[in-house]
């Protein structure tokens, strides 16, 4: 590790810390229906949206109606995106004439993937989808799935914040506000900055050039900047190009890279503050923020150290792996020179801690320990800041479990934020946890026979499969991209894993929130476990690590852990 690398990481953390309060306070005001500085401009448009959708702004919904609205919206989104892909050859803005390659199973996989905020890509963007599909299909779902996630998080927080009511807000209002006041304005600004740095934005066909040495090079073009902005801000992560944010047309400079990383975390981090504001105790939000930060920093430095140490097999061949002012050193396979090791390690940890899944380096070529951390981040459910909305309601799931475990230890009925945590809440939390873990482990196990689809042998090959289902069930979307997943089996099962990972968390959490909203808030007594101090933060981290480790250690030991030891011995596959 170099001091410059460490400073880059610390600079990033300071930026997120500084943005958490303003972002969180804005969201708290917005979703409470208070006026913000954007209201003079956007309020008339917001009203128009409700007229067009045909809903009443002041109608409150029970949790079942809230969930039904979400499911209805997700269903139509899926159908539109599926048909758009299948019909792309009949539609305009398709200068390269893409079309027949989109099989029904690929269209299913991609539609599920973008609707669930996963953005797993079994395809290669620049050679599969027309400009129309990329923007009117994929970009739209980048907005929609993030806004929906944000809405659900706000509804779940209301479950804790409200008392003796049976409603959680209105899905149509929450999702509209998320899109109109937060995602759209920030995306326009970010897209303009990206373009100023070199991200392309056009509708021209690919450019054919003759290089200096007289070869032909076909340069893919397209409306990239507009998609790039929401891809990061909505923690979506589906690249316009196959190489994702490693592609110089998506992420040309270290400055665009910094902004991309900030965009991933700004809303999830801000939501911890929103949470504190809405439940009336800011310390509760900072407690969640602290637990997330500890897990995040631990992950960053493990990846950074492992990647900077490099690959011992290559050092023996005469590859310089020591960093200096003239070269990045370390494990540069699958990484870009403009980013180097530190920024790539930081990005990889952020993108898997959040449910983003964009990459600036190929995770498949990471060292075993460098690849282990992204896997683990996703397996604990992406609660380390996590996806837009999804991170917070995932973390609240663990908070329920943490107070439940603490309650068992001292023999008291657990409470969180003055709400009794009873059988129903714990059952719902466990349902979400078990469903995603089962999707990862069962599908991975069932797929181990598909060795012909792998790019690597030995434990790394198994890790490619494990990573795929982990990424799908966690709604992340990054990949050990050597796996050829564009087959009916992988497209279908990965699609199912994504649906489980999205809706079997959301629906139980909404159910739990609906139940909590009806309860009275109890007064704090001397017997109450404070949930804002060091003790609770430690307990929360312990719960996450222990639950994650108990569930996934056997699978991880067959993949990256055994690979690490074999690498040290020089074994090749």
């Amino acid at each position: 590790m170099t001091s410059n690398g460490v400073f880059q990481i610390l600079l990033y953390c300071s930026l997120i810390l500084a943005l958490t309060k303003p972002a969180g306070a804005f969201m708290a005001r917005l979703f409470a229906g208070e006026r913000t500085f954007l209201h003079p401009v956007l309020r008339p448009f917001e009203r128009l949206c409700y007229v067009l959708i045909g809903v009443r702004e002041d109608a409150e919904q029970r949790w079942t109606q809230y969930a039904a609205s979400l499911l209805s919206f997700s269903f139509w989104s899926f159908l539109l995106l599926f048909l758009l892909q299948r019909w792309q050859s009949l539609l305009p803005l398709n200068p390269s004439g893409f079309g027949p390659g989109v099989t029904p199973d690929l269209a299913f996989n991609t539609a599920v993937s973008f609707v669930t905020n996963t953005n797993w890509q079994s395809y290669s963007g620049e050679s599969t989808y027309s400009y129309l599909v990329q923007m009117a299909g994929l970009t739209v779902q980048n907005f929609a799935s993030a806004a929906a996630g944000l809405a659900v998080a706000i509804a779940v927080i209301r479950g804790f914040a409200r008392q003796q009511t049976n409603t959680l807000g209105n899905f149509w209002v929450d999702i509209t506000r998320a899109a109109v006041y937060i995602l759209l304005p920030l995306s326009v600004l970010a897209a303009l900055f990206f373009c100023s740095q070199g991200v392309i934005q056009n509708f021209t066909p690919p450019t054919v050039v003759t290089t200096l040495e007289g070869q032909q090079q076909v340069i893919a073009q397209g409306p990239v900047a507009s998609q790039e902005a929401i891809k990061m801000l909505g923690t979506n992560g589906g690249g316009f190009f196959n190489a994702n944010s490693a592609h110089p047309f998506e992420n040309p400079t270290p400055l665009t890279n910094l902004l991309q990383m900030v965009l991933i975390f700004v809303l999830p981090a801000g939501l911890t503050y929103t949470f504190g504001r809405m439940v009336g105790d800011q310390r509760q939000g900072w407690a969640l923020f602290s637990a997330m930060s500890v897990l995040f920093l631990a992950g960053v430095f493990v990846v950074y150290a492992a990647e900077q140490a490099g690959n011992p097999n290559l050092t023996q061949l005469g590859v310089a792996s020591i960093a200096s002012e003239d070269q990045p050193g370390g494990n540069m396979e699958g990484k870009e020179v403009r980013f180097g090791i530190a920024a790539t390690a930081l990005f990889a940890t952020i993108t898997t801690a959040a449910s983003c899944g964009a990459v600036i380096g190929m995770h498949d070529s990471f060292t075993p320990l460098g690849g282990l951390v992204p896997l683990f981040n996703m397996q604990v459910g992406e609660v380390i800041f996590g996806g837009v909305g999804a991170g917070l309601y995932g973390m609240l799931l663990f908070a329920i479990l943490a107070v439940f475990i603490a309650g068992l230890m001292v023999g008291r009925t657990p409470e969180y934020l003055g709400k009794r945590i009873e059988g129903k809440e714990v059952k719902m939390a466990m349902l979400g946890l078990i469903a995603t873990a089962a999707a990862i482990l069962l599908f991975s196990g069932a797929s181990t026979g598909f060795t012909a689809n792998l790019n690597n042998g030995g434990p790394h090959g198994f890790a490619e499969i494990l990573y795929a289902y982990t990424s799908a069930a966690a709604n992340n979307g990054s990949a050990f991209a050597g796996l050829n997943a564009n087959t009916p089996w992988f497209n279908t099962t990965l699609g199912i894993a994504m649906l489980i990972g999205r809706f079997l968390i959301i629906i139980p959490m909404l159910a739990a929130a609906g139940n909590l909203a009806s309860k009275k808030r109890l007064a704090v007594t001397s017997g109450t476990l404070p949930t804002h101090g060091l003790l609770f933060v430690t307990l929360l981290i312990g719960t996450i690590v222990i639950v994650g480790a108990l569930t996934f250690f056997p699978a991880l030991s067959l993949g990256p852990i055994v690979e690490h030891f074999l690498l040290q011995q020089g074994r090749l596959f």
């Binding site: 400073f7 880059q8 600079l11 045909g54 079942t64 039904a68 209805s72 919206f73 139509w76 620049e126 923007m135 970009t139 739209v140 980048n142 899109a179 759209l184 995306s187 326009v188 373009c195 070199g198 934005q201 056009n202 021209t204 003759t210 290089t211 200096l212 090079q217 340069i219 893919a220 073009q221 409306p223 900047a225 507009s226 190009f241 196959n242 490693a246 592609h247 110089p248 400079t253 290559l314 003239d326 070269q327 050193g329 370390g330 494990n331 396979e333 699958g334 990484k335 870009e336 403009r338 980013f339 180097g340 920024a343 190929m362 498949d364 070529s365 990471f366 890790a463 991209a481 050597g482």
Partner: protein, 186 residues
């Protein structure tokens, strides 16, 4: 429950128009107005012909040019991607051993010059990787290594804000300047 169906369809349609057509359209108009060169791919023209993008690597194999990093996709700017070979891959070790053998220089070779990038289109090499190639380029162009080194030094891009990313050299821009300053004798 059924009364939730139509609002779902209407919202999906509204967002398709708003974020799928209007938003990218407005962004395109603004980008074309303010950053036309960047919006179209930072294309570089020489003698009236487009010879590539400043942001994308192209293949160089002749001795008189600096060479970029190896590309897993053969510098195909319409099919980006990395090798996706893991650290214990026999193929990776064989490939790097072969590439090491092609280097005329003795001693350690910078990691970035022997490894494939994530995009397959990495336009940069590290300053150390440029240094490694100085002697070959100088002798092919009949120039002194010092003169070439002085030119390379002007093409080293520092870290952004002195902190972010890594120092680097854009291979295509450097090679264009070489043709300009040290033309080959026909």
């Amino acid at each position: 429950m059924l009364n939730q169906l139509m609002p779902g369809l209407r919202l999906a349609a509204l967002l398709t128009v708003l974020t799928g057509l209007i938003y990218p359209g407005v962004v395109t108009a603004l980008c074309r107005a303010f950053f036309p060169g960047a919006a179209n791919g930072s294309l570089i023209t020489r003698d009236g012909a487009i010879i590539g993008s400043a942001l994308l690597a192209q293949n160089f194999t002749r001795p008189e040019y600096f060479h970029p990093r190896p590309s897993a996709g053969n510098y195909d700017a319409s099919a980006s991607g990395g090798s996706n070979l893991g650290p214990t891959s026999q193929k990776l070790v064989d490939r790097i051993a072969a590439q090491r053998g092609q280097q005329a220089t003795a001693g350690l070779i910078p990691a970035d010059l022997l490894t494939t990038s994530a995009s397959g289109l990495d336009p940069h090499i590290s300053p150390a990787s440029a240094q490694t190639q100085l002697a070959r380029v100088a002798s092919a162009r009949g120039a002194t290594p010092e003169a070439i080194a002085a030119l390379v030094a002007t093409f080293v891009e520092p870290r952004a804000l002195g902190l972010l990313g890594e120092p680097r050299v854009n291979v295509l821009r450097l090679n264009l300047a070489l043709d300009d300053r040290f033309p080959l004798r026909k």
